[in-house]
């Protein structure tokens, strides 16, 4: 079913995840394990976002919202019954007495996110370009509003606590690896190919009979499912969180990871997440030591975001498609000599932006 290149890509993408687990375990430092788990969760999120954004070419802001849905849904199901009285005093009776294994709860959280996505997104999938982006942004705000105010289930804007700690490095890495496999399979599936055709030329794809709205919808639901599972994982790792954890700042981070890596490829998603996480941890150390040294009168906040924003703008100016713009890592042939005998750099296909439509550009 899968050709050699895809299998090679898969191997090359699972390798860093395996290395991460081994490295973190060998060193045995708690901080490193935390970073590795966070990285695996980010990886899952970014790969999930790539499933929709990379294949359809439509920017989606709502992804983090579905992560929140997954986190809250799994939390409600897995918080121990005796804790619920304190954590969620107004919870509906039907779920108040329920306590599932956290692993089951995480899976159900993903399904809930996918269901919500399936219900709300169908009309939105008819929109293209800017209108689609804007409505996805509005969808994020709506999901955030609901999380912020549905006190019975989310404890309102306050912190929800009491989740059992269930996510360890193996689980997180396993889910991340699973997400990578799913994303690659989807990309090569019939729906994935149709969707990519619609990304490259919407009108031509529609003329050949692609049901664009349906293909987009499938990708969106799958993407929300992965985001929901990632949310559940994160919730059972951090064990207490508030709706503020699922909003613009986080959206910006995962979007940054995907854009820097290259949205069109799964390889881009994976390496973008790795690269940005390492850069972030470095910057955070700088920020923390600045704050500890008290060089400035007030706390230094936002340094990491400023750096990420600059990196994103820089990448888009220099390499608009990201690091892996079109070819997956397994398909690249770094040193293959071409007919004229000159070896070419990693990407042998011409540079192509995520959404290229060369008929007319709004630019001179």
């Amino acid at each position: 079913m899968l050709d050699r290149k895809t299998l090679l890509t898969l191997a090359l993408l699972l390798l860093p995840v395996a290395l991460l687990v081994l490295g973190a375990e060998q060193l045995g430092v708690r901080v490193l394990e935390r970073i590795a788990i966070n990285l695996c969760i980010s990886l899952t999120l970014v790969v999930g976002l790539q499933v929709f954004m990379g294949n359809s070419g439509i920017l989606s802001f709502a992804h983090i919202g579905f992560m929140g849905v997954g986190a809250y849904a799994s939390a409600v199901l897995s918080i121990p019954v005796q804790m619920k009285g304190m954590a969620l005093p107004d919870l509906y009776a039907a779920v108040a007495g329920l306590q599932l294994s956290p692993y089951l709860a995480i899976a159900i959280g993903g399904l809930v996110a996918a269901t919500v996505a399936a219900l709300v997104s169908y009309p939105l999938m008819r929109l293209s370009d800017a209108a689609a982006v804007i409505t996805s942004f509005a969808l994020l705000v709506v999901l955030h509003t609901v999380m912020l105010h549905w006190s019975e289930v989310t404890n309102g804007p306050r912190t929800l606590f009491g989740l059992p700690k269930a996510t360890d490095l193996h689980l997180a890495a396993g889910v991340a690896a699973g997400a990578i496999v799913i994303a690659l399979l989807f990309k090569e599936s019939r729906t994935g190919i149709l969707l990519r055709a619609s990304r490259d030329d919407e009108i031509a794809a529609a003329a050949m009979g692609v049901d664009i709205a349906k293909a987009r919808w499938r990708a969106f639901v799958l993407s929300a499912l992965i985001a929901g599972v990632a949310g559940g994982l994160w919730g059972h790792f951090i064990t207490s969180f508030s709706p503020r954890a699922f909003f613009l700042k986080e959206t910006f981070v995962i979007l940054g990871m995907l854009v820097i890596g290259g949205a069109s490829t799964v390889s881009g998603a994976v390496f973008g997440a790795l690269l940005v996480t390492f850069a972030f941890e470095g910057l955070r150390t700088v920020e923390a030591s600045l704050n500890r040294a008290q060089i400035f009168a007030e706390q230094v906040v936002g340094l990491t975001e400023v750096a990420l924003a600059l990196a994103m703008i820089g990448i888009l100016i220099l390499r608009p498609g990201g690091l892996f713009a079109t070819a997956e890592i397994g398909a690249a042939r770094p040193f293959r000599s071409t007919a004229d005998g000159v070896s070419r750099p990693i990407r042998s296909t011409p540079e192509e932006p995520i959404r290229s439509n060369p008929t007319e550009k709004a630019s001179p």
């Binding site: 070419g57 920017l59 709300v120 009309p123 939105l124 008819r126 929109l127 293209s128 370009d129 800017a130 209108a131 982006v133 804007i134 409505t135 942004f137 509005a138 969808l139 705000v141 709506v142 509003t145 609901v146 105010h149 919407e202 009108i203 613009l248 910006f252 979007l255 940054g256 854009v259 949205a263 007030e298 230094v300 906040v301 936002g302 340094l303 975001e305 400023v306 990420l308 924003a309 600059l310 994103m312 703008i313 888009l316 100016i317 608009p320 932006p353 995520i354 959404r355 290229s356 439509n357 008929t359 007319e360 550009k361 709004a362 630019s363 001179p364």
Partner: protein, 296 residues
């Protein structure tokens, strides 16, 4: 009768502000296909400018003018930072750079000013109320209506009658053709960003008038309003933006009156559901905008 009048005043004042915001967004989108995520930060910039010069002895109107100028300057800066370097690339690239620029500005405010709210100077008249035909309303609302009426009429006049306006409309319709006929691209683009900044700056004065303080995240709500208004109205039509602004204000005010208290906090969710319904009916928005060749 009084209740109806109250409703009309509310819709007009809110709608005036919404329409100005939407127009500022659409003027850039119409020509450049750039969804400017940094648009909300123009309001933030105007707010912080007011805060920074607030201690001086200048009359308030001068301070307000400086704040609006700062918004215009930032608008033009968006062009140079987020747009010009990537404009030959893809629509998504432009969109993401504007999002990155928005985050950059917000975090710069966090880093260099403060995460906490900062009070801005406001004129006395903003906190007064006035009674018109039995309706008690803040003077600020009346001023918003007046400002919106003046600004929108001047804008319509400029777009219809002046050379620059005609050039801009031509560019919005067929950018390449307009350039072939001698419309200077960079001038039109910079003007669009400047107008965008002007609208945001003026709205900022009234927006800040409600809370009296500025925080780094102040731009989000107006940005969202402008987004939704333009999507309802039609992304490429200037009239559509104004219509969308007033319609959104109508929906918001209507829901304020119609929803019971415990559902009121979910108002945004209801508004958005209505927007989905409108989009189901008309995916391109209420007004289609000028006919163009295929361009995305």
């Amino acid at each position: 009768m009084t209740a109806a009048l109250q409703f009309v005043v509310d819709v007009l004042s809110l709608g005036g502000a919404y329409a100005m915001m939407a127009l500022g967004l659409v003027i850039v989108y119409g020509i450049l296909r750039l969804v400017n995520f940094a648009y909300g930060e123009l309001i933030m910039v105007a707010g912080y400018t007011l805060y920074l010069i607030g201690g001086s002895a200048l009359p308030w109107l001068v301070m307000a003018a400086v704040a609006v100028l700062a918004a215009i300057a930032t608008g033009i800066m968006t062009d140079y930072v987020a747009f010009r370097p990537v404009r030959a690339k893809s629509v998504t690239a432009v969109l993401i750079t504007s999002f990155a620029f928005s985050t950059l500005l917000q975090n710069a405010a966090l880093l260099f000013i403060s995460p906490r709210p900062r009070n801005v100077p406001l004129p006395e008249i903003f906190s007064d109320t006035i009674q018109i035909w039995g309706v008690i309303t803040p003077v600020r609302n009346v001023l918003t209506i007046v400002a919106a009426a003046v600004l929108l009429s001047v804008f319509a006049l400029v777009m219809k009658r002046t050379m620059l306006g005609i050039a801009m409309r031509a560019a919005a319709s067929q950018f390449t053709m307009a350039r072939m006929l001698g419309v200077p691209a960079n001038l039109v683009i910079s003007t669009a960003f400047a107008i965008s900044g002007l609208m945001a700056g003026v709205v900022a004065l009234f927006w800040l008038g409600r809370s009296g303080a500025v925080v780094p995240g102040i731009g989000l709500e107006p940005l969202l309003v402008a987004f939704i208004a333009t999507v309802i109205g039609g992304m490429r039509s200037l009239q559509g933006a104004v219509l969308g602004g007033f319609l959104l204000a109508f929906i918001d005010t209507g829901l304020n009156h119609a929803l019971p208290q415990n559902l009121l906090q979910f108002r945004d969710a209801f508004t958005f559901s209505l927007v989905i319904l409108i989009l189901l009916w008309r995916p391109e928005g209420l007004m289609r905008g000028p006919a163009t060749g295929q361009r995305t």
